[in-house]
Symmetry: C2
Subunit: 113 residues, 2 copies
């Protein structure tokens, strides 16, 4: 393994998509239930601001992980869905979730010693 740099490390390809304070939570929501309206996502993730929700959704959309569908209505209705491609991230999310749980156990048992 010689002359590595981040531009040629495939791990970073998936990392780029997942990184963002709210990306994992948004993806977990849309993997569990698609489509979801903007307001439903906002309600499911109360602490996110509208600005950040919009921004992270736009980024995921531009990477074709999710799809944004606008209905020409008043008031507006916008629905977000995970794409088939986005679903391929599931194994990664699962592995990370499982590791996270173990990590928490470990951390807790340390504190209580």
């Amino acid at each position: 393994m010689t002359n590595l740099n981040p531009d040629f490390c495939e791990v970073n390809e998936s990392l780029d998509i997942l990184v963002g304070k709210w990306k994992p939570i948004i993806l977990l929501n849309l993997l569990a239930e698609s489509p979801m309206r903007f307001s439903e996502l906002k309600k499911a993730i109360p602490k996110i601001t509208q600005k950040m929700l919009t921004k992270q959704l736009r980024e995921l959309e531009s990477q074709e992980i999710i799809i944004r569908k606008v209905y020409a209505q008043v008031p507006p209705r916008v629905e977000y869905s995970i794409t088939k491609y986005g679903k391929t991230l599931q194994p990664i999310l699962d592995a990370m979730h499982e590791w996270g749980l173990k990590h928490k156990e470990r951390t807790n048992s340390k504190i209580t010693i």
Copy 2:
């Protein structure tokens, strides 16, 4: 799935450890070969600055993903190894690597159309 916020999303536990421009590459190196000297890592990852290498190593050390061993010599000799705990990240790294490869194929085939 209600009232989620990043502080209670287990995915972020593992993400926190992996995020950092050079963390994945450092981990892949140490997973492939442990221990490695500071200078060996620097040589394997030419574009990283000493400051960043030191910083990322310190962070991984504080999370007990790697171990830092100093030999009382002149000149100094410092070796870094992956811990048993750090090895539990391997499935995540593997999943991300595999996804990254597929992602690159996909991206390339798009460009060449």
